[in-house]
Symmetry: C2
Subunit: 451 residues, 2 copies
């Protein structure tokens, strides 16, 4: 008889695991059942800001694989089914069929928890008002779209991190007046050091965004159940649409209630094979803690790229193969209009907080040979250990072609290079693609010269 794999959560991690386990094990060997409380599977949450902004035509375009497509591959998907509890002693889950309000109990041989993460929503007065939204799911996107179609004019985005930046860009493209309210003194405060973030603030303001830094939201003015303004100590901003973009926390309550280990960062604890401490229970994606390769600490980093990798590795292991997840560097990229923003490893501030005697050196370099048309300037900040030159992290802000250079730095970081060694690498050169010293080499070389 086939063993049964039950998956809680039908998105990136869960369905990557399902697909990988199905590739490795036949239907006779392994039955796969995934429960998803929403009505879609395997969609790109990262694409939502571009859906709102009008670059992506329809929500369906964001769906990589529908429940029907999964079923055709031999994966049973039950949408609108929420798992309410896990009994690890009896190897059972209690499932709530949301559309029919029915409960059932399902036995598992292996269980994968892929419950994702939820947006942080502070208990501000008025937070539940109509027009105060997030952008985490396709349902959220539909609500934002509804407000836009209904004629929303003045949007306030709370939080100037990745999602805040991307949503602000999208709403601007839709013709709204956009205000971004950020508690910290710089945008991208969790991602960039303040010196690198300045260019982002400039770009936002030049694009016409009213960027209010150092401004903590205190609540909302609500009239007839609808938001009309965002309130802060610095005053009131009129709004008929508010999008909250304050980061996420792991959905680990279900696991915690079942006695499955949850760590200090708030995510489910897994080893590098995605095993929890409970036999036959695995976890992957935004709901778990990952090991940061530079600090060695457990972190929750809710990113599709990790969810996919972890899901695939979990699927391999559950099906009897062997795969491990190598940890994270905190590599990330985004853009605001033409400005590309990327980072990997530790910022100077993070490095100091992690106990490194770190130095950050910033280099300005052109994207092409100076004489080749279209050369643009970019800034690269390299953070390294002062005594040894150990490379700890990097940030890039620049125009076309700047951002993806972060992958070169992420690769160097992954393998534990020093800035001295990085400065001498054999990177590609031709006038349309870089100056003879590629910006990455220049940045590493300048860092090395400070040792």
């Amino acid at each position: 008889m086939a063993r049964r794999l039950v998956i809680i959560g039908g998105d990136a991690a869960g369905m990557s695991a399902a697909a990988q386990a199905r590739r490795m094990a036949s239907v006779d060997e392994l039955e796969i059942v995934a429960f998803e409380r929403g009505s879609r599977t395997s969609y790109s949450a990262c694409g939502l800001p571009y859906l709102i902004g009008g670059l992506v035509e329809t929500p369906d375009r964001l769906v990589a694989r529908t429940p029907q497509e999964h079923r055709a591959k031999g994966i049973e998907v039950r949408i609108r089914h929420e798992v309410a509890a896990i009994d690890t002693h009896a190897s059972k889950v209690k499932v709530h069929d949301l559309d029919h309000d029915r409960e059932s109990v399902v036995h598992y041989d292996e269980l994968l928890i892929a419950t994702g993460a939820s947006g942080i929503v502070p208990p501000w007065p008025g937070i539940d008002a109509e027009g105060v939204l997030q952008l985490r799911t396709l349902e959220d996107a539909a609500k934002v779209e509804q407000r836009l179609v209904a004629g929303a004019q003045r949007a306030v985005v709370v939080g100037a991190g990745y999602i805040g930046l991307e949503v602000a860009e999208g709403l601007l493209a839709r013709g709204l007046d956009v205000t971004v309210v950020e508690r910290l003194d710089a945008p991208m405060g969790a991602a960039l050091d303040a010196d690198m973030a300045a260019a982002v603030a400039d770009a936002m303001r030049r694009a016409g965004i009213d960027l209010r830094l150092g401004t903590a939201v205190t609540g909302f003015t609500v009239i007839d159940g609808r938001v009309t303004a965002v309130e802060s100590a610095a005053g009131s901003v009129l709004a008929d649409l508010v999008v909250i973009g304050l980061g996420v926390r792991a959905n680990a309550e279900l696991a915690r209630a079942a006695g499955i280990g949850v760590g200090e960062a708030g995510g489910i604890i897994v080893d590098d094979h995605l095993r929890t401490g409970t036999p036959h229970v695995w976890a992957a994606g935004d709901c778990v803690e990952s090991r940061h390769r530079i600090t060695g600490r457990a972190v929750v980093l809710a990113l599709g790229t990790h969810a996919n990798k972890q899901g695939r590795a979990a699927g391999t292991n559950i099906a009897g193969g062997e795969a491990s997840f190598g940890g994270v560097l905190g590599t990330a990229i985004t853009k605001f209009q033409h400005l590309e923003i990327a980072r990997t490893g530790l910022t100077e501030r993070e490095a100091a907080a992690a106990g490194f005697d770190a130095l950050g050196i910033t280099t300005e370099a052109p994207s092409r040979a100076h004489y080749y048309p279209g050369a643009q300037s970019m800034r690269i900040k390299v953070v390294f250990e002062r005594r040894t030159g150990r490379f700890l992290g990097a940030q890039i802000v620049g125009l076309e072609g700047a951002g993806k250079r972060i992958d070169v730095l992420a690769t160097a970081l992954w393998t534990g290079m020093t800035v001295q060694e990085m400065g001498g690498m054999d990177l590609s050169y031709a006038p349309p693609f870089s100056p003879v010293w590629d910006p990455v080499l220049l940045a590493a070389g300048k860092a090395a010269s400070k040792l």
Copy 2:
């Protein structure tokens, strides 16, 4: 009294060394004299095709630093001075002042040979005819420009390597009928495996180039001293301009004649500190052999990026510092119109020739999330050792944003990763920049799946 550094060759390697030595040593400590047989210093030979193509406005734009600018920095530059002989016993060089036809003898305490490389010019009948040119120097570029201004209509480029491709693109942009004649069965035959080169051939033909593969030139038809056709076994091609682009060989004769060691690849032998085997004699740039990090063999790779790195390291060491050159991977990049072409390490063919039991796996991947506007397809070929998964090299052919991804692969190659490890790296992801599995991760993962 100051020691005297004499540099033979005033281009990338020589003047990088001069500039770096000057940064580290004052005029009182070190006198620096550079002899250059041409009339310019420190110009970008890599930019010449773009000068021909009209993308670079004037030759001066390619000059990074003029003799005057070097002099202002305390570096004595004598242009139109050719070093005719080196006497390593007496520590002297014999210098020929080309404009005044005078000879002098100059003593050195340290000598740097940076004589560069010369284009390979086979002894074909008619090779010296008017209109048969190379594109190695600004003087060459001026001659090509002269032909264009004089109304050249039909150009034949001999050789479909980097320079051939770039010159063909430039001449096409100037409105000429362009034929490219290549002895091998594919363009970029020294850089790419045949399966990857097919897309290059397609792009050339679609652009209107008459690409004749498998065609060995036998000579030229010359009338009144001027070329009128290129001859091959496959027939004759009318031409009023011929550009030879057949690679280069190191200018090592001067060193060889002085008893300085020259290797089997034809370049001056240096250690990783750029020392020749002769005391107080150093060499750097296109005239030396470099260690290939994957094969361990000595190779001559005439590229500006190596010349600059070697020159800088040599300058550091000559001035009493300590710097080494870490070897080469054979990383290179070019483009033909919108098609980007890049490589690092060994091709499948090269890996086999070097004795590796190697496998090459090709992956087709999009440059952005499938739903994000502007996603383009690229091909990445990953070459690896069949038994261990050791990464040996990669090739990329694709549209915008494809080529520079080679640097990620070059960095992985530099540090000696396996394809298994590479498939799990934390590279950046956002819909405008890559699919959730970056093409590099997909390519490495597909390779790893074959182990």
